[in-house]
């Protein structure tokens, strides 16, 4: 069944540093829960709870392979999230580039003896 990634859930899922680290790890390739738990000083149930939040947000998926259940990124959902953030980033970038020009002008005005 295709999960329904909600933007709110996705942004909320990204609010936690452990979950961001898990996503960063999964960007390198799929991993088991044990692999994902290793770098963190927290219990496996705690990691499983984080994985559930990420899965509910549609950001990761579970692949079934015999008895193994490796987790992997849902690239489409991650990309969608990235695009939205990027668009907002670009708006502020354009404004601040403009501000650079204004500041350069102000600087010149101040340096000109009155």
């Amino acid at each position: 069944m295709q999960t329904t990634p909600s933007l709110d859930a996705a942004f909320a899922a990204l609010a936690d540093p452990t979950r961001r680290a898990i996503l960063a790890r999964l960007m390198e390739g799929e991993a088991t829960v044990q692999d994902l738990a290793r770098p963190f000083d927290i219990s496996q149930p705690a990691i499983s709870r984080h994985l559930k939040v990420l899965a509910d947000a549609g950001l990761i998926e579970t692949r079934v392979e015999g008895s193994a259940r490796p987790r992997k990124l849902n690239p489409e959902a991650v990309q969608a999230l990235w695009d939205w953030l990027g668009q907002y980033h670009a708006l502020w970038e354009a404004r601040y580039n403009r501000l650079d020009d204004v500041l350069a002008t102000l600087q010149t005005e101040e340096e000109t003896p009155k």
């Binding site: 329904t4 909600s6 942004f11 909320a12 609010a15 668009q87 404004r95 601040y96």
Partner: protein, 158 residues
Amino acid sequence: MTAQTLVTDGETDVVVTRQFAAPPQAVYRAHTDPALIQWCMLGPDGWSMPVCISDARPGGDIRFEWSDGQGNGFHLTGNYLDLTLHSRIRHVERMHLPDPTPDNHVDTRFDTAPGGTLLTMRMSLPDTATRTAMLATGMEQGMEASYARLEALVGKKA
């Protein structure tokens, strides 16, 4: 040298940082002087800000109106909460599309940094849903178009 960062923080905040090659006094002025705000605060491509009110004192009004010159427009209203000259501005703002969006509390800091100023702007929204809506509307094609696009995207995902 002027790399911008934009990250979400916690459930409701967005934090933008940017370095400027000018002292905090100048960057602060560009954030409060209506003529400079009008020039910097871009709307969608091809749009301008014909009306800019910025009464930079506690309780003072903020009103930015964007127009495409063909009768289409949207605006932002708000109020300054408190200001520390050349160092910090706290204000609240909302977009009108035309219904007002929930209040966005903005805390802007101007810190001296090597070569100029480090600007840190923290936007605090009332909830995660509002933050998501704000992030998803880049404004570059007009807010209504952005909302329509967001709905289409969310609809497609569902």
